[in-house]
Amino acid sequence: MRPEHWIYTIPLRLRSLFRRAQAEEELDDELRDHLDRKTEEYAAQGMTQDEARRRARLDLGGIEQTKEKCRDARRVNWIQDLNRDLRFGFRILRKSPAFTAVAILTLALGIGANIFAFSVVDAWLLRPLHFKQPEQLVLILKSTLDRPFEPNVFPGYRDYAAWKRESHSFGRFAGAFWRNSIRSGISEAQEFPGMIVTEGFFETLGVPAQIGRTFDARDLEGPPVAVLSHNMWQVQFDGSPEVIGKSVILNGKTFQIVGVMPNDFDFRILDQSNRTAAWILLQQGEPGYDLKAAGPIAAVGRLKPGVSAQSAQAELSNIQRQLDAQYPDNPKGYTVLVSGLQADNTRTVRASLFTLFATVALVLLMACTNLSSLLIGQAIGRQREMVIRTALGSARAPLIRQLLTENGLLALIGSSLGIFVAYAALETFVAANPFGTLPPNPIAMNWRVLVFAAGLTVMTTLLFGLTPALQASRIDLGSSLRAQGIGAGRGNRSHRMRSTLVVSEIGLSLTILVAASLMTQTLVHLQSQPLGFRTKGVTALTLVLPKPIYSEDARFAVFSEQVLESLKRLPGIAEAGASTTPLLSFGLLGANLTIEGQAISEGKPGHAVDKQVVTQGYFSALGTTLLRGRFFSLADARDTENVAIVNEAAAELFGRDPVGMHIRLSAKDPERVVVGIVSSTRSMFYNKVAWETRPRIFIPLEQADAAKSFGPVGHELFVYLHGKNQPSSADLRHTVSSVDANVPVSTIEPLEREVDRQFSNPSLRSIVLAGFGLVALALAATGIYGIVSQSVAQRTREIGIRMAMGATRSQVLGLVVGQGAKLALLGLLIGIIVALGLTRFLSSMLFGVTATNPLTFVAVAMILVGVALLASYVPARRAMKVDPMVALRYE
């Protein structure tokens, strides 16, 4: 149907559909008018009134019958057509269940993946943040001059103050920085993520408190005040409205609670959600935050209407230049970076999001093209049906409509399933949290996503359905009836295009599968490595020792021994030890090892080693083997000789038996005597996929200077407990708080889980790659299947002739399968070349396997060959079943 035709008919049909009553009334009026006139006419011819009326009615042939006929004429035809097409479509789809299943599955995956990706993109990038006019909000950080678009450091408080004082671009301007809070004064102290913000912070964002108020100028000099998050209010204060005015002890200081923010208030610096529990006000006298100092702070501003982020950045850069000139101690080489708040919050995920979206769109495109080729294959098989229907008088439009209805049906079923696929994928995504951060807007399917899905369904229907439908319905009756099946030459160009597509699909799946296989092997290697310590039956606790109480070495050590002693007394716990750095990370405390008797020079200042500060129970809790000498003991105290233990790797640096030798860990560090050697353990560097062993020197907590490494809130203590039965978290927390209720336990988990977490990135990568690899493989398989079965359908007659001439079934099989195999081999060749080029870039993510591992390549190639053969064997079997008599009868 021509579109201009629709302009007329659609309103009419909609009217008859939705305005039934009115149409009915008009019909009544029209017929009554007719009867009246006719009666008048007959009366004028000399009949009586009654007779005239009777004749008029007779002429009309029964008013009700006529009405019914009129209704019939108006009946909404397309609904009936659709109904008929749908029923016919269902029949056709049921007739070839394998094709239907493949098509629906392909669409469900393709559309599902797209809905999933769109939902994620929607939550991160499309939906606005929950602030007043969020598009006006910018976050201001500093970047280096050579990479001006990447935030590098936080501005100092002095910078912030100057910007606020001198700039004119902003309606409002405020500052914020992360500041965790340890809440004490309750039965067990707890640590919460938090922020310290300037007055005017909430006004800048334009969000009022849900109950109570936010900060204002009078708070600057009064007692310390805090605003709670909705979640903190619910969990810690039972959502009671009486919370306003109550006091809460945070980091050893008493704060008055003045307000609670609404649930969807989620302000982030960079894209790190720390689920802030409390905001405290930056008051005068906060250490580091005055005009002489440069305490870190992120600035957030609301641009005046009409002011762009660029011009604001130019203004602030000017101010900063003058400031840098004024204060020679300001760090050099930095510039101001103004970015939109939402852009800042999506800085690291944006690239991944676009990649994800592009990938799934590509997958869908491939799926559509594949389906298209499958459908063309099918359409050729249905050519006779089309020819006969045309011969019987069917116009081309209803045929196209029929075919599109069938395809629409496929797309509809596919996308309904796709919604489920997307739902499952979203659940998994949120649970796995692969970016390590979730957007402030919940990732969910909303009306926008559903509209997108509907649009996608229509688009895919047209994309994969229109070409085959047009091609199938383009029937020249004369030639088609005469020469069935000679049309093969017509599809030559599209055939070549599809072959190219299939070849590239095979190449792509080889590349992805090789990468997936390398990643999986990496994972297996990582998980099977002996680590040098036990993980079974070990619980890891992280305590935070608050600064005001424990920033003195003696108290730090005393508390550690006390808390370990209490924990060890719990039933089921055999050993307890602690360290000031986590077991699984390297290089947190570096040291420069100098050994008695080894010369130091300018070029060789000593050995770079790791330093780890541990309690005396640390080694036995983790089951580390003592190779020589002794472990630390309670006798190694502050006032006794300074001691150290080295691991095997460090022992090699000595060139002789280290036990009894004297060492130093830095120029300021006291001389220590080595008392033992322990076996090496393996750890991981941040962001590096490999277990490594490095030279490490252990020193006892009693003889360390832990106080130096205190942050503004406190110092972490990593406790490891070993025993047959692990006590409950509640017991552990209770035990810690019984020693000092001011010390919060921030995490409790089995060491095994902590070790597993080191694999989360490698395992995520291997899962994602394997997933995409399988999708690509499935696409390649359907692609081969589509092409081969199409050609079988086209060549039925040829095959019949060959068989009639004496070709055996196996020859026919070879003929058909050979076609698929040729495509597969070409694809493999290309794929291997590409994979060899690309996997080099993976080397940094691999462990225990090389990027060009030949076995991997061979295995993946074999799998692909197998799949390709299988995909062409199915249509080949159909070819073998060709009955020469039947095939030739159509001559």
Partner: protein, 111 residues
């Protein structure tokens, strides 16, 4: 049983379009005009006239509009659309071809 009014479907459509092409009129007037111009040969029963008109309207070839008629009564007036005009041309062409072909065949039989 065949009545003279049993026109081939499609032919009736063409006739109605042709009549409405002259001027917009209501259903009653259409039936009068049909009788008048065909000299009572092509009698279309009122019972099939209205469904036919409704069908043409549904196809978008004619539109209907309620107007007050010459004697003050409200009546439904049909008029041809642009599409209807095009359809009429097409059908007239077709008709010319078919009818000449048929008459040639008939003459063949007589010869």
């Amino acid at each position: 049983m065949s009545k003279p009014s049993d026109l081939v479907q499609g032919t009736l459509d063409m006739l109605l379009l042709k009549i409405l092409a002259l001027e917009p009129m209501n259903g009653f007037a259409v039936s009068q005009r049909l009788k008048q111009v065909s000299g009572d040969v092509l009698q279309v029963s009122d019972g099939s006239l209205y469904p036919a008109l409704h069908k043409l309207q549904q196809e978008g070839w004619i539109t209907a509009e309620w107007k007050t008629s010459e004697n003050g009564r409200r009546a439904k007036y049909y008029s041809l659309t642009r599409l209807g005009r095009r359809q009429l041309e097409k059908e007239t062409d077709n008709w010319g071809r078919v009818s000449s072909a048929i008459s040639r065949v008939i003459k063949l039989g007589e010869a």
